[in-house]
Symmetry: C2
Subunit: 354 residues, 2 copies
DNA sequence: CTGAAAGCGCTTACAG
DNA sequence: CTGAAAGCGCTTACAG
């Protein structure tokens, strides 16, 4: 549809001929002048699209220097985003691609005028857009789709949807592995401290956790499942709530490493010890896991790989290639460190046959 | 010197007139053709510079969309660089500036063709360049200076020099504060584990340490001063060496938090405890300091502020403003946490009157 | 609203 | 190596 009619690059005169107008009129349309009849404007715009006309500026921008890709990271600069960024930058360096990084809070992202944003990207010759843990409405995504700007989301908050490509990790499998590890150590009272209810990845981890329990005939207890946010603060608050229960859990599976850190602090604060009094598993596998005491057992996401994969996908899409799938999940891996151990035997309910 | 002669924007013909050549000749010089005599080329280049000629592309690039600034971060993505990046991105967002991030290893940076790089920056309309803990030779810096591209270095390895602006922290004062804190706790045998001998900031910290000792009449011992690199590995190795001494130190001042982390691990490995058996002070004040056990007393650098200050400086320079100073040092601050305490009394040599 | 004509700024092809 | 001449692609000023 949008293919050029002939091989020779279309110039203003070509467009004019196709639209049946003069060159000056095309020039006016391109430059947004208002002294053009609506019907003429429409005809010219159709011709511009059909021929795939690019101004000399655009052509130059496209051919000069390395390709540029935009990257938007959720405002909070965590070790998680740093790992992803590292992966993207590494791959960008080998491909000679420039990465334009913006730090945008979710609120700001939502307020942004996506039409203008996409238009500016086209004008600056940007090849595509990578979003880290952000979301856009379908309409917003359309602003980019209409201009043929590929959008790839890493760890999307929304479930996969048409119009963009996403890269994630096997969150469900990771949640299940974490839970089964705890069960295999003898735990029965296992709690889950998840991220935002709206975050697809957190929901998947929760369901992995539930599947792990169910697969071993352990029924889930509502009071053992708290969802809130991916933060240390939530770990502190969540641990407080869980440990105050009449029958507190003997193990906690935290939805991310930062949350686990909060749990660790609250446990320590109470004079309890990990893993003696409580086993703890995190999620993400950030460098943090090696820095805590005890070192944190965690489900590692291949964050750098995910960054690389996202950039690779954007560059392919920008070249008009088709991707095998619009959503890819890289494998998580449970890394057992020092924060998990069998529960104290006196905590095992009488009658348990584990 | 480099101001335009007249107010009207210089076009190719203006340059030709000033250089005493024809327009086609100027065109050739601009486009890097080689069929131009060296002397002619030089004359044209002088005229281009004198008039501040910009091609239509450049002019457009300058007026379209947000300003772009290049950022090069030493390959290793540490919490240190993440903090600086956050500061830069925050400020960039408020100023509507795009930051083009590259991750370049020092070796790669050294090999790069700076002339080409600078030329490409001009052509892409980049406003300036921020380097994080990197260095360039004077000649390399000239490639940018000649094209009026401001370069600002954060925490430069080289001492301040002409041709670029640098942003650092009060390393000497920080080193002195750390040392005096340990002395005030009663320590006399204080060791220093510094960064690369070539790194200006590390040298300043070392001299702050020496000044702290000297000011309190404590003579420095060569075996207590080890310099190597800013890494955890060096902390491990350095601690091993120091603790194996016949008379080991009672306190270690580590040149950065990562090194302190290594020390902590080695101390723990030997079954010793911080701060009971050994006091430990880090440098940088990264989030790491809150994540260790015990939490790490550290000299905090205002890393985010440094990032902001660097971007502010680049943008000002790009607008032709003069800076008050080509080197600015932001204040460090000793943050006392849990890794420092008075030395065990039996370690104080007999006869000490502390 | 539209477009013939003139113009702008840069580049190309080529004669010397 | 240099530049007069021709050309390119877009824009402007203005007559209708």
């Amino acid at each position: 549809m949008r293919e050029a009619r002939s091989k020779t690059k279309p110039v203003l005169a070509t467009v004019a001929a196709l639209a049946g107008v003069s060159a000056p009129t095309v020039s006016k349309v391109i430059n947004g002048r208002d002294d053009v009849a609506e019907s003429t404007r429409a005809r010219v715009q159709a011709a511009l699209a059909e021929l795939g006309y690019e101004s000399p500026m655009q052509r130059r921008a496209r051919s000069t220097g390395p390709a540029m890709v935009d990257l938007v990271i959720d405002g909070s600069a965590t070790q998680y985003s740093m790992e992803i960024l590292t992966g993207i930058l590494d791959y960008a360096a080998t491909e000679d691609v420039d990465v334009v990084v913006g730090s945008v809070t979710p609120a700001k992202l939502h307020r942004a005028n996506h039409e203008e944003w996409a238009q500016r990207m086209v004008e600056s010759g940007r090849k595509g857009l990578i979003l880290v843990t952000s979301e856009m409405t379908t309409q917003q995504l359309d602003s980019f789709a209409n201009r043929n700007i590929p959008v790839v989301v890493i760890d999307p908050l929304n479930p996969p949807r048409h119009g963009y490509t996403s890269v994630g990790a096997t969150n469900w499998a990771g949640g299940k592995a974490a839970t089964e590890h705890l069960i295999s150590l003898g735990h029965q009272r296992i709690a889950f401290l998840g991220g935002p209810r709206a975050a697809e990845c957190s929901v998947a981890r929760l369901h992995g956790y539930l599947a792990g329990l169910m697969g071993h005939g352990i029924s889930s207890r509502p009071e053992y499942v708290l969802v809130g946010e991916f933060s240390k603060a939530f770990g502190l608050a969540g641990a407080r709530e869980l440990l105050d229960l009449a029958e507190p859990p003997t193990a906690i599976f935290a939805g991310c490493d930062a949350t686990a850190l909060g749990v660790l602090e609250e446990v320590r604060h109470r004079g309890l010890r990990v893993p003696d009094d409580l086993s703890l598993v995190g999620f993400d596998g950030t460098p943090l896991t090696e820095q805590t005491l005890p070192r944190l057992t965690s489900v590692a996401q291949p964050l750098q790989e995910m960054g690389r994969a996202a950039l690779r996908a954007v560059l392919r899409l920008a070249q008009g290639e088709m991707l095998d799938s619009s959503h890819m999940e890289l494998a998580t891996e449970l890394v057992i460190r020092d924060s998990t151990a069998p529960p104290r035997t006196n905590h095992v309910p009488a009658g348990s046959d584990l």
